[in-house]
Symmetry: C2
Subunit: 533 residues, 2 copies
C-alpha cells in the first residue's frame, strides 16, 4: 500500500524524529541561543487551508490520471526548502497547482504536454518534490492560464539490465529505494545517494545534476548517465547509449541540468557498479582547518580516489552533535567490489598524518568502520537531517544551507569572506549572533565543494523576510568570491538572479534558443533557467 | 627559428622516416600484397601547383597579420587525412583558402571575424592542422565569397599557473610540446598526448574532444577543462573557472566539441597533475580475443584506473611489426606522482591471469618498463605512425583508420560485423584481400573505444574513389551497429552524413539555434556540425 506523504516535513507520515529526539533537538538550540523554550507554531490541518478554485479542468481523455483534489494540490505545491516550510506553516498555498497529473507512461506525459500547450497552462515537472531551490513551485509569471503539476512517480520501472556493461535502463520517475532494491537483486548498485535519496527520482537527479555518494571522481550524476530519453513538447530526443563519444557537443549534457525547462526525462541508461565487498573508513582529526584542507587537497590530488573524503569543520561537527567540538574532522573511506583497499587507505592516512592529522589506525581496518565511531555518527546524522527542518521552522529557528565549488587557490579567501559575511548578516538580520559552519561534500583535484550551514534565531512573524535577506547575502557572497551558485542543489527559481550573474549572457541566450526549439510554447517549468516569458 | 612544415607529410621538413625505414615499410607491404615493388607517385613541388587567385584582399588594418602567399595558402589547405594526402599528391589545391590570417592576440581574432562577416567570407579555424576528418578544408558551400584560414598558433602562451590547484590558464593556440615544456618547469604536466601531440593546439584539442594519454577515467580532454574562453562573432563567452558545478547545463560542454563552428577557443584553464615518479607497465598476451576483451573489461570495472589499458589484436600487433603475430596484446600501465603502484599492477595482473593472460611478472616491476619490450615497441610505433601516411599514399596503398565506442554487451556483434564488412569491402573495392585490425584506445566501465585500421592495395588513378567507398562502408557499419561515428577524431566534414544519422534531430536543431545566436552570419567553419547555409 502506498504511504501518505507528509504535508509538511520530510517523507511519510509516521517517519521522522521521536518526540524525545525532537525535544532534544530544540533543547540543544534553546541552549545555543540562550532562551528558555521556543514558542512553536502549529501546522494548519489540510482541511483548514484555503485553496483557490482550479482555473482549468482536465479534458475527459486525461480525467483518469488528473486530479484537482485539494490534498494532491497541497502536496504538490512546494519542495523541501526553508521558505517552503515557512509558507506551509503559514497555510499559504497560493501557488498550488490547479491540477495534478499522475503520468503512468510516456504517452501520458505527451498527452499532458499537448493539453498544456493547447490550454495555455504551465507544466511543473514533479519527481520526488525534494527541491530546495523552488524548482517545483508554480511561480510561473502572469501569462499562463493555469499550472499543472506533472507527477512522474508512476514511471517507476527498471526496464532492462545489462550485467556485462554494468548498466540499466530505467524510467525517470523511479525513486532511490526502488531503484536500489531492483538493482540489488542483480548484485548491482547505482551508488548515488543524495541526502534526498528516499524520495528523489532518477529523472529529477539527472535534471538537477545531483551530487551523490562518491566524494571524488564520480561525484555528480552526470558521470553515471550513458544516455537520456527526454520527451519535449517538440517530440522525443533520445541520444545513443554510449560509453564515450567525441561527436560534437554532448547531447546528454544539454539535458543533464535542464531542470524540467526543456522537457521530461522519461528514461535513461545509467552506469552502475557491483556492490562493494571491501571497505575501510575512518575519521581523521585536525587542530587547524588549514591543515585539514591541505590534507583533503593532497588526498584528492593523489589519484587514490577515495569513495568518501568529507571535511567537517569543528562547528559543523559540533552542530551535528559529534566530534570533540574543537577538532576538524575528515571522514575518509575507500570501498571496492574488486580488491582489498588497505594499500589505498594506508597511503591516504600517511598523507593526512603528514599534515598533522590524528586517527585510530586500528579502527581504519575494521570492515564495519563506516558504520561506527564518528564516521557512523556522521552517516546517521546525514540521513536524519531532513527531519530537523519542520521542528526548527516551527520553533522560529532559521536553519538553512547553501553550497558551492571553488578552486583551492581561492578557497581560503572565499571561506573567510563567506563566514565573516554570514556572521554579520545573522547579526544584522536577527539582532543576535548565529552559527555558521562548513563541510566539504565533494572534492576535486582542483578544488572543493564547500557546503555552508547558517543558523539564527528568527522572529516567527518575519521568518520569510529574514531568510530572504540571509539567502541574498549568502548568494551574493558566493558569486562575488568566484564560486558557483550551486554545486548540486540546482538553480530552481530561488537561484535565478545569481545564475544570471554567473552564466555568460551569450550562453543564456543559446539556452533560450534551445528552449525555443524544444518548448516553443514555453510551457515547461517557466521561470527556471530561462526567465519566464 | 621557426621550422618549415611539410607540404605533404607529418610535421617539419627534415623529420620523419629515414630512407631505410621507408624502404623497409614499403617492402613489408610489398610482401603483404605479394607485389614486387610499388610504383611511386611524386609530390609536385609547391611552385608547380596552380592556385586560383585570392577572391578577397585583407583590409589595410589586417595587412600585417594576413597573407595570400601561395605557400601559406597551400599549407593551410588540408589536414592529415588519407584523402588530404591523395589530393596533395595529385596537386589538387582547389579548396585552398584565399587568405591566411595569423592571429597573435584575441583582438586579432576579433578583427578577422568582423572582417569576415563584412566581406561575406567563411572563417576556417586552424590550430595544428592535424584534422583527419576534413575539419580544416574550406569546403564551405556556394554562398561565401571567399575563405579565410585563421591560424591560431600565435596564441601560444601559458598565462597563469596555479600550483595549488594544479591548473594553468593557457592560450588556445599553444602546441603540445610548448605546453608541456612550459609546465615541466613547474613540475607539472597536462598528460594529454593524442597522436597529433607534436602539432595539435590546446584549442583544437578542446574543440575536437581529443582523446589522450589516459586509457581510463580522464580519457577525453573534456575532463581536463576547468573553463573556456571562446570568442564568437557575437562576442566573448567565458565560463567561470570551477572544479565542478551544478548550475544548469554546463556552458563549457557546448564549446567542448564545437569544432570551430561556434567560435574560437582563445583561452582555457586546464587541470594538470604532477609529473609521475612511480610507474609500472607490462604487456599481457592472450590466445583468444574474447578472453583478452574480458580481461580489459574486468580491469576497467575494477576501480584500479590504469593509465594505460590498450588492447591490440594479433593483426594490429602484427601490422605494427611486433608481438608474436598470434597473440592478442594488452598494454597495461600504472603511474603516479604520489605512491608506488605495485599493489595496483599486481591486482590488474591477477585479473588478466584469471582470464588466461600470460605475462612476465618481473618486467612489470621495472620502472622503465614503459619504454622497453612490447610496451616500448608500441610506444615508439605510435609516435612514428603519422610518418607512414605519405610513403603509403605515394605507393598507392590505402591505409586508414576509424574509431568508435560501444557498450560491452554489443561489442562482439559490432566487431564481427565491422570486420566482416570491411574485409568484404576491401575485396569489392580493390579486387584483392586486404587487412583489418583493431585495438582499444580507451576503455570505460561500460564499454571500449575500438579503433580499426584497414589496408588495401589501391589503384593510383582511383585512390580517392576507392577510399570514399571504403570510408562509407566503414561509417555505415559503425552507425548500424550502434556505435558513435567518432570517439576522438571529431566530426569535421567527412563524418557529417553519419553524424546527422547519429544525433537526435531535435538536438541538431538546438545546435543550429545556438549557432544562430553565436554566429548569426554563419561564417564559422561552415559545413561542420551544422549544415552550411
Amino acid at each position: 500500500m502506498s504511504r501518505q506523504l507528509k504535508l509538511c516535513g520530510w517523507g511519510y507520515e509516521g517517519d521522522g524524529l521521536t518526540g524525545a529526539e525532537e525535544a532534544g533537538l530544540l533543547e540543544t538550540y534553546a541552549g545555543r541561543f540562550d532562551v528558555d523554550a521556543f514558542e512553536r507554531t502549529k501546522m494548519p490541518a489540510a482541511e483548514q487551508i484555503e485553496l483557490s478554485a482550479p482555473r482549468i479542468a482536465p479534458p475527459d481523455t486525461l480525467a483518469s490520471i488528473c486530479t484537482t483534489s485539494p490534498v494532491d494540490r497541497l502536496l504538490h505545491c512546494y519542495g523541501q526548502s526553508f521558505p517552503d516550510y515557512v509558507k506551509t506553516f503559514a497555510g499559504d498555498f497560493s501557488t498550488a497547482p490547479d491540477v495534478v497529473a499522475y503520468a503512468k507512461s510516456e504517452t501520458d506525459v505527451a498527452n499532458v504536454l499537448d493539453w498544456a500547450a493547447d490550454a495555455g497552462a504551465a507544466v511543473i515537472p514533479y519527481g520526488g518534490g525534494t527541491s530546495v531551490v523552488g524548482g517545483v513551485e508554480a511561480v510561473i509569471g502572469g501569462s499562463f492560464k493555469a499550472a499543472i503539476s506533472l507527477d512522474l512517480s508512476g514511471l517507476d520501472q527498471i526496464l532492462e539490465i545489462d550485467r556485462t556493461s554494468l548498466s540499466a535502463r530505467m524510467q525517470g520517475g523511479i525513486k532511490g529505494p526502488a531503484l536500489e532494491a531492483g538493482l540489488r537483486q542483480h548484485g548491482l548498485t547505482m551508488r548515488h545517494f543524495p541526502q534526498s535519496f528516499e524520495l528523489a527520482t532518477l529523472g529529477g537527479m539527472i535534471a538537477t545534476r545531483s551530487g551523490g555518494h562518491f566524494a571524488t571522481v564520480y561525484t555528480h550524476i552526470d558521470d553515471l548517465v550513458a544516455n537520456v530519453r527526454c520527451l519535449t513538447p517538440s517530440g522525443v530526443v533520445e541520444s545513443r547509449r554510449l560509453p564515450g563519444s567525441g561527436a560534437g557537443p554532448s547531447p546528454d549534457r544539454l539535458f543533464i541540468g535542464s531542470e524540467g525547462a526543456l522537457g521530461i526525462i522519461t528514461e535513461a541508461w545509467m552506469r552502475l557498479r557491483e556492490r562493494p565487498s571491501f571497505r575501510a573508513a575512518t575519521t581523521v582529526l585536525f587542530n587547524d582547518l588549514e591543515t585539514a584542507v591541505d590534507a583533503v587537497r593532497l588526498v584528492s590530488q593523489s589519484g587514490l580516489f577515495p569513495a568518501n573524503l568529507r571535511l567537517l569543520d569543528a562547528n559543523e561537527a559540533g552542530l551535528s552533535g559529534f566530534g570533540d567540538g574543537i577538532s576538524h574532522l575528515v571522514v575518509l573511506a575507500f570501498e571496492s567490489a574488486d580488491h582489498p583497499v588497505d594499500a589505498w587507505m594506508a597511503r591516504a592516512l600517511e598523507i593526512c598524518a603528514s599534515c598533522g592529522g590524528r586517527y585510530d589506525a586500528d579502527a581504519a581496518k575494521d570492515p564495519d568502520s563506516h558504520k561506527s565511531g564518528d564516521t557512523g555518527a556522521w552517516r546517521t546524522a546525514f540521513i536524519k537531517m531532513p527531519h530537523f527542518r519542520a521542528p526548527l521552522v516551527s520553533a522560529g529557528i532559521i536553519h538553512d544551507t547553501f553550497e558551492t565549488a571553488i578552486t583551492w587557490d581561492r578557497f581560503e579567501d572565499m571561506h573567510t569572506g563567506i563566514t565573516t559575511k554570514m556572521h554579520q548578516a545573522l547579526k544584522d538580520v536577527t539582532g543576535k549572533a548565529g552559527y555558521v559552519s562548513t563541510r566539504f561534500t565533494h572534492v576535486y583535484p582542483d578544488g572543493p565543494a564547500p557546503y555552508y550551514t547558517f543558523v539564527g534565531l528568527g522572529r516567527q512573524d518575519a521568518l520569510l523576510e529574514q531568510w530572504s535577506e540571509l539567502k541574498m547575502r549568502a548568494s551574493d557572497a558566493v558569486i562575488e568570491h568566484g564560486g558557483t551558485i550551486t554545486h548540486h542543489h540546482a538553480v530552481g527559481r530561488d537561484h535565478m538572479p545569481w545564475y544570471e550573474r554567473q552564466i555568460p549572457m551569450a550562453f543564456q541566450n543559446t539556452l533560450k534558443a534551445a528552449k525555443q526549439v524544444l518548448d516553443p510554447a514555453g510551457v515547461m517549468n517557466p521561470g527556471v533557467l530561462v526567465a519566464a516569458r
